[in-house]
Symmetry: C2
């Protein structure tokens, strides 16, 4: 067995798994944003035909999974593992979406980093010889998240300028052992980093130090610099968090450059859509990865992408108890040339 | 790369990871039960010196992790991945315990199946060549769980006879690529199974069909029968759930036999401790595995154990919305002879 570790936090995959397909489903607001042409399905009904927003989130995820299977030309029973999670308490968005599926299931929780976590574990499952095909998927829903984490929607609470808007969206991605790419080539797994931020309306600031540390580890472990990648895309630091990340690197004399952006900055139009610091939620980086990013890779625009999803690992209870907000970031290198 | 799948839901590990150490920390009630001599640390303070039960749960988990590192003679920085989760919303028990650790972190959620899930993923990380050492850990706390899932403790609500008692306990287990066992030899990953049970006070009934299906898959995939194992230990079906599991197998003409038991039945004394149908919570199967089960293996009593933790994948919200309770069960074969 080949040894795959190439540093403190990074593994280089021996036989890089190939992305067989990605699919994304979003809500109306996301469908009105600048990435509209990359989404597979845009629902103008925030209930997705259900009677609660939580059920809507599960149905959105189920629809996304079905689309992904169709695009990959795989039956659900061909998929050996499903790694999924979401923001709802006890991850019921995912478990209720997966309860009708005949697929061995591992629930994961990484807050808004969940897409990178599930993608990392799916890639390890395939590269490690445990699966021919594995699926990573996640979701968030503005309405179910608002009432769980913040206030009832009916209350109409004011939002601070640093607040982000939880994306109604889901992303699913199927990896296979054989395929034509893009390939998952490297995984840098994040450590939890608590910078002491306590403002739950400024999660970009809480997560930016984690993104800085994971990207720094990725560059150190791989010997690559930012210039190696055509796009370095965090998610979801939002506008202020991404500025903090850029500043942290500038202090080291490293310019992340114009290829650096953030899913939370991409998904909405800040001039036309009232979202303050940008998008957030597991479904933000998931739907941007599985639509925009993958398609920009396959069309040749971006042969090399570093996808670095970030999560704020707090709960309502921890914030009410005065705790600070731990952050995490996992980075996954996707390349159209798998190095074969 | 060797191909490790041996059936629809099972992988046979190529170079079975070795258990370097297991550790468990529990509360006073658990320390008064029949397994008291197997626990590493029993706290008579349910607050573990903290000001809230949620913080207590994190401190319990941190203590358990430290004990495990000490027993394995490994520094935290020697551990390449930490897989952890718990029952609290957004898994803050684990994330706050891990925020001071220099270890790449993957959060997992499988309700009371979390110890089997984290153990499975840690074993795959080591067997797949991604890590020299990986840790799986999880916890639950009676007081933090009661107020989150049920009622304020001060209310003194009556419990139905089928209700289980959430264990205050944590378990941690470190796997290494090299070692003298016990070894993780097979992993059977569960599918979600919703049998339509809606009574959140009868989770054994909700989870038993999942345990039945995963164990059936394990026997079919491996060609082994129940008689292969010295102990088949589910967790946490409790008394009624375990009886349902036994009945389901008897319908197939399969007698699980006297070696079959359940962590929820083992941890408390039903005659002397008022726990109704037995123990539950992630910390139940975790503390029983990392104490009692591992030590019974290493002392030679049980050379072959099938550990099959079960989880009920509901939330307060899903139950309030009238949803049934999906169950899951993951099975992990532990053997003192790794087949080398």
């Amino acid at each position: 067995m080949a040894y795959k570790r190439i540093g403190a936090q990074t593994v280089r995959l021996e036989t890089p798994p190939s992305v067989a397909a990605g699919a994304c489903v979003v809500g109306q607001k996301e469908g009105e944003g600048p990435l509209r042409k990359w989404f597979d399905y845009i629902s103008d009904d925030s209930y997705f035909g259900q009677e609660s927003w939580e059920k809507a989130e599960s149905v959105m995820l189920s629809k996304c999974f079905s689309l992904c299977c169709d695009k990959a030309k795989l039956a659900p029973s061909d998929i050996h593992y499903l790694f999924a999670g979401d923001l709802l308490n006890q991850c019921v968005g995912s478990t209720f979406a997966a309860r009708d599926l005949p697929i061995p299931f591992y629930g994961v929780y990484g807050a808004c980093s969940t897409m990178a976590e599930s993608l990392s574990l799916a890639a390890m499952a395939v590269d490690g010889g445990f699966a021919d095909a594995a699926c990573a998927m996640t979701s968030s829903h503005f309405c179910s998240a608002e009432r769980q984490f913040r206030l009832p929607l009916e209350y109409g609470g004011q939002r601070t300028p640093t607040a982000q808007w939880t994306v109604t969206g889901a992303g699913a991605l199927i990896l296979t052992a054989e395929g034509n790419g893009p390939y998952v080539t490297h995984i840098t797994t994040g450590r939890i980093r608590d910078a002491g931020v306590t403002d739950a309306n400024n999660m970009g600031a809480a997560m930016a130090p984690a993104a800085y540390e994971t990207l720094t580890a990725h560059f150190a472990d791989t010997g690559r610099g930012p210039e190696y990648y055509d796009a370095i895309i965090t998610g979801d630091l939002g506008r202020f968090g991404h500025e903090i990340l850029t500043d942290l690197f500038l202090r080291d004399g490293v310019d992340l450059g114009p290829c650096s952006t953030d899913c939370g900055r991409l998904i909405y139009d800040p001039a036309a859509q009232d979202v303050h610091a940008g998008g957030s939620g597991c479904g933000c980086s998931a739907s941007v990865l599985c639509g925009h990013i993958l398609q920009r890779m396959t069309c040749g625009d971006w042969p090399r992408v570093l996808f670095a999803a970030t999560g704020a690992l707090m709960s309502v209870t921890s914030s009410q108890q005065g705790e600070s907000i731990p952050g995490i970031c996992h980075a996954v290198a996707l390349e159209t040339d798998g190095g074969f």
